[in-house]
Amino acid sequence: MGESESENEAPKVKLRPIVRLGMFLISHSHLLSVVCCTAGVLTLLLLPLLAKNTYISENALMPGSANPMLSSQEVSEANGLVKDLTSLDLKRMASGIESQRLIAQYMSNLGAEVSFQKFYPQSNQFHPLHFFSSPDSATIRENISCSSYGLNTVGIIRAPRGDGKEAIVLVTPYNSEKIGLGEALSLGIAYSVFSLLTRVTWLAKDIIWVVADSKYGEYAAVDAWLRDYYIPVFSGLGIQNAEMCHGLEENTIRERNMRDGFKRAGTMAAALVIKVADRSEQFEDSLSIYAEASNGQMPNLDLINIVNYLAVHRQGLRIKVEKMWSLLNCKWLKILGEILESLGHLAKNLNPQWKFGIPAADYVEGTATLTSSLYYQALGIPTGPHGAFRDYQVDAVTLEISSRVSSNNKGRQNDFLLRGGRLIEGVIRSVNNLLEKFHQSFFLYLLTSPTSLYAHANNLDPSFEKNESNHPASAADELGITLRSWKWLYAAKKVLVVHLWGAVVLLLPYFICQIPNCTPTTSFVVWVLLSIFSLLILFWILGSPFSYVYASQPQQREWALLKSVTISAAFIGLCLMSVINFATAEIGALLMVPMCLMAHPLKLDVKSRKLRNFSRVACNLALGFIGFPPTAFLVFKGVFEGFDGISVGDFWNWLESIWAWSSATYLYIGMIHLPCWILCIHVILHPC
């Protein structure tokens, strides 16, 4: 009988293999999504293992091929500057202008062109209309008082035989009101390099040294200078104002020239921000590299590589990259690392060419670095003044050098200046060698250690696997209901309305900010209340068609439709976000994908009273709890930093910092994550 049936049906049912494969996948969508999700998470955990060693892909850079020319003579000159600056600080009588004048004097004695750049602090106010564009400089100068301005000092060395088309920028932020020893030392390092570069013959690019006045923040000063460099305003409203309140007696014509002219030099090839940490290290001199700019943009990897190569192999500095320190003591991570290590050993025994095992300690360290790299990229906030350069497509890194002991010892300080200066000299020399702009190496990557990376090019796979897992699930849900009846349209409408609400929630903080004397906690509470209120209003206004739908079609499949549309929306949102900021999408997918896939009405589960259903209920509740952005933030903060002293106000502060830097993560949270969470909760609590 069976034979006859197959005989009859085989020619008809015979479909193309691809279609058959698709149907097979759809019919097993649950299993498939679980497999994909776990595969994605596993790959993320395996990333430290899969990371590759970095290499310098641009041959023209040739780091360390020349002997450093920086000698003790420059260092002793730099020491003079450091001494003068610190004595200025000791005197206290000197206003901020004195230190700038001193630095300018030192610069012009080297034969550099010096100019001052005055800027006004810019309040970090959230303005919804200016989210994507930096606020108009005309609007900044609304209320400036004469006393409150910062003064950047800019020195430029023209390359002797260069054509002046390109420039390398050195930035040393320092607080003109109170100069710490670290800041003075960073100025000293930059000065020693600068004085060397005025004499060398190999210079092909101009050197700009920006001494940024970090009275109002390092980023603000550098950003103000860059804005004047790239988008100067000619119709100066502020000019007369500035002229009126000079407050400085202009001694010589020369000084006035310095003040008037904003000096420029060509297209910027790269920028280095030099800082010296005030804290001292225990064991050896070390160097921290900060590279994350706004929205997780990274400088070209070659730049980090040169710094790393020169610091480790030439100057003997220990390189540190930011880590999640709390992860280092994680038990389960260690166990995982050990398992992976033994697996690696096993594999190596089987075939000596399989070398994927790394020691457990390295694994844990790599994971900690990776997590921190992922987090800072996802946050979308620049980790230093170098972020300002990235906005103008200039590759930049911040180098923070910290010395072994507090450098009171004179010889020790000289050695420190010499090493720091030689490192900077080497990097500048490498960039100077470069004929073209940085274009050879990666610019989308996660660092797992200073010498290894994980390039996003390879990294795209796991997360897309995760994302892909959405599709089958949604398709499976839709399969039950015929697509041709336009029922899913109502669900889509609902999803759209919730996303609109997300946009409204995003705008609310602007109004909450206007309320004077608000503690973070109260503003957060106000925000939550207002959001709920607006949600209710939206449902009241636009919700009537839905109620009609509910009434007319009492169907239990409504939640399935809603779930599938939610999953599609989440998929689209994650895809968009992965283009803008991959790390955000990655973390978001970790939280959101399981939540969206697991969502199932509680009522149905409770009714059926099976172990499987109860476990699903538990999962749903846990995921729903962790998926809510504030709780997710607080839980992670608690896990990493300890639970004491945590308040909901922290979330408000965190969010405030995100929108102040106009990070796309803010948009992601409001427009994608929160609506999807609401919809999932809606599905979970669906009255079937």
């Binding site: 015979k14 035989r161 054509d163 790239y230 000619f234 100066g236």
Partner: protein
């Protein structure tokens, strides 16, 4: 046969007559039209502790009609042929490395306005041919020069690189073509052919000073070739061809690093001598040269500074009585006593006038080389005369889509008296002409031109008096903008902005180093109301030096702006590889499925399927069939027929394979 010797005799006679005649003619000719060569060197201390050396060689050839046809005595034949072939009326070619610092090295003297050139190669030429042949002549000229000077001047042949103008840059109308190559690297390979044009090359005379390492170590290096010929136009006196070769270098004297005291007042200028800056001495003149002089110029500012110093000294020590200007000046000491001293006349610019010392090097030889040295005794600080407005050009905006070119002018605070001398009339206007060429891929929108004067936006009609724009054509011609601006005299700062879009190039139009960016050549800024001319009082005007007479010529103050670098979008040049890979994959898939369809025999397949369904066996095949049934979307049916021997063997085989593999793994694991 007998009259043959007579005939030879007569021929000889005629020949000798001819020779006699021609020599007489030549002697007569030499009085009026003889080829002449002169070599001069001007040295000038610069305010920022550097020294300017300006070599000036001039060769003149009489007009063709009065000379011996194509034969030349001193004049380089290559140049003469070039002039005749392409009918060049005037031409200037310059090779430059480094930037002229208009603030520190001066922008208001004949040297800076005619010898400060943009980096790379600049070429302009005026042709005396009908308008439709100008382009052809230009192309041929670029190729000839390219061969002559070992440079890639032939890139100027393409119509996207050169431009024509109506007015502005050069007063001549019609057949002028102008082109620059900002990226051309300049080195000795360009200097050697340039020196070959000199009659003594670099073997004797002043040009022997040109030690390659020392002149290329300098801060600025510009070799220039200027050619004027009056062969082809009837108007005026026929002066033949004048070839003017100038080499301007700015060198840093090797000074011992002085103890740094951080007050600029007490810094002594570095002392130098010819042997210390060039590493060589002058061992005599080029014998073919008519004049061979070395000059030392002291600028007005320096002279004023020295006079002040002298006054101070007179106050402190009355025994130092300055007599005859600065002959016994206290500021510095010269190792060789000058032969003559000139003072600038008619200087309306300031109180003091610049001073020129002349050394004639005719009396020096190998045994007694000329080595001029200058030793500073007291520190002097002075500044150079600068152009009325300091101009700089820069790019605004970021990103790969659009940008803005901005030219900003800042007043250089000229002395009051100087400006007031020019004011005269009521409505005092400061005229500045701008000539700017942009390549076609910089799509400048000329309607977006905006002008700001002293920080206030101005209507264009108020400032721009005359404007000529020829928009660029894609892959055809560059965009040219010529402007005549009239600023009020009291202008402090002014700015011009012009927006542009960045264009796309075709993949094969990218240069090999496309990621470096693309250059916008320098703009030329001319101040026609300000003439640079230096008139030195000379005792006898008959023996006039060509360089000094060049200085006397009135020429407008001219300055070049910076070269700009525009990063354009560049394709990923490894893309072709990716495209090939993907295309191949697609083709493979397509042909694979096509072949599959073509060679499929449906009936046969069904029969095989039926057969295989009838014989079922083993756990693995069972699983497989279950999977395939799933794939087909049917209910799986357990096989009815018991396992046959063949399938049993196959499962056994698989088992064996597994066992062998396991043993191998085990062995490998424990053998180490």
């Amino acid at each position: 046969m007998a009259h043959l010797p007579r005939r030879t005799h007569s021929i000889l006679l005629i020949l000798s007559f001819q020779i006699c005649f021609s020599t007489i003619f030549a002697v007569f000719g030499s009085v009026f039209f003889q080829e002449e060569f002169s070599e001069e060197l001007l040295l000038k201390p610069l305010p920022d502790r550097k020294v300017l050396a300006h070599f000036h060689f001039e060769t003149t050839a009489p007009p063709l009609s009065t000379s011996h046809g194509r034969h030349h005595h001193l004049f380089p034949k290559a140049i003469a042929q070039l002039v005749q072939k392409f009918h060049v009326k005037e031409m200037e070619l310059s090779f430059t490395q480094g930037r002229w610092n208009y603030d520190r090295w001066g922008g208001f003297d004949p040297i800076s306005s005619s010898n400060a050139k943009p980096p790379g190669v600049e070429l302009w030429a005026v042709f005396d041919v009908p308008k439709d042949q100008v382009d052809a002549s230009w192309k041929n000229l670029t190729h000839t020069l390219s061969g002559l000077f070992c440079a890639s001047i032939n890139f100027l042949e393409s119509s996207t690189t050169y431009s024509t103008h109506e007015w502005g840059f050069h007063p001549s109308s019609g057949g002028l073509r102008y082109g620059t190559l900002p990226r051309e690297a300049v080195c000795t390979e360009n200097l050697t052919p340039w020196l070959k044009l000199l009659p003594c090359r670099d073997k004797a005379g002043l040009s022997a000073l040109l030690d390659r390492p020392s002149i290329y170590r300098g801060f600025y290096h510009s070799q220039r070739l200027h050619l004027t010929s009056s062969e082809f136009h009837s108007s005026g006196v026929e002066s033949g061809i004048v070839l003017e070769q100038a080499l301007t270098v700015v060198l840093q004297p090797n000074s011992h690093k002085m103890s740094k005291t951080f007050s600029s007042e007490t810094k002594l200028q570095p002392s130098w001598s010819l042997s210390s800056i060039f590493g060589r001495k002058v061992t005599g003149r080029c014998i073919l040269a008519k004049t061979s002089n070395v000059y030392l110029q002291l600028e007005r500012g320096l002279v004023t500074g020295l006079e002040n110093l002298q006054k101070d000294n007179m106050i402190t020590g009355p025994d130092h009585v300055g007599s005859g200007g600065l002959k016994d000046n206290p500021g510095f000491e010269l190792s060789v006593r000058p032969d003559k001293m000139f003072k600038e006349v008619n200087s309306l610019h300031g109180k003091s006038s610049s001073i020129l010392y002349e050394y004639s090097i005719e009396r020096y030889s190998v045994f007694e080389p000329f080595d001029l040295g200058l030793t500073w005794k007291f520190p002097v600080v002075w500044s150079c005369p600068r152009a009325p407005l300091h101009s700089s050009r820069f790019l605004m905006g970021s990103g790969n889509q659009r940008g803005t070119i901005a030219i900003s002018f800042t007043s250089t605070d000229l002395e009051e008296g100087f400006l007031s001398a020019n004011i005269g009339e009521e409505s005092c206007k400061l005229q500045a002409d701008i000539f700017q060429v942009v390549p076609w891929y910089i799509k400048a929108y000329y309607h977006t031109l905006r002008v700001f004067v002293d920080g206030q936006p101005e209507a264009i009609t108020n400032v721009v008096e005359k404007m000529h724009v020829s928009p660029s054509e894609d892959k055809e011609s560059p965009g040219v903008m010529e402007l005549v601006l009239k600023f009020p005299c009291a202008v402090k700062s002014a700015a011009l902005t012009l927006e542009f879009d960045k264009g796309f190039l075709h993949i094969d139009e990218y240069p090999p180093d496309a990621n470096q960016g693309f250059d916008i050549p320098s703009a030329v800024i001319i101040f026609p109301n300000f003439q640079t001319s230096m008139h030195y009082l000379e005792d006898n005007s008959s023996n006039k030096s060509p360089m000094l007479s060049k200085f006397q010529e009135k020429s407008p103050v001219l300055s070049y702006t910076e070269v700009l670098l525009v990063p354009l979008t560049t394709p990923d040049f490894s893309m072709p590889y990716n495209v090939i890979t993907i295309t191949c994959t697609v083709f493979a898939l397509y042909f694979g499925s096509l072949l599959n369809v073509l060679r499929r025999r449906v009936g046969e397949e069904e029969r095989i399927l039926k057969n295989s369904a009838s014989k079922k066996a083993g756990r693995l095949p069972q699983l497989l069939s279950r999977l395939s049934a799933k794939l087909r979307g049917k209910e799986w049916e357990p096989p009815q027929s018991p396992s046959t021997s063949s399938s049993f063997i196959s499962s056994k085989l698989i088992l064996k394979v597994f066992i062998v593999a396991g043993v191998a793994v085990f062995w490998q694991y424990y053998s180490e």
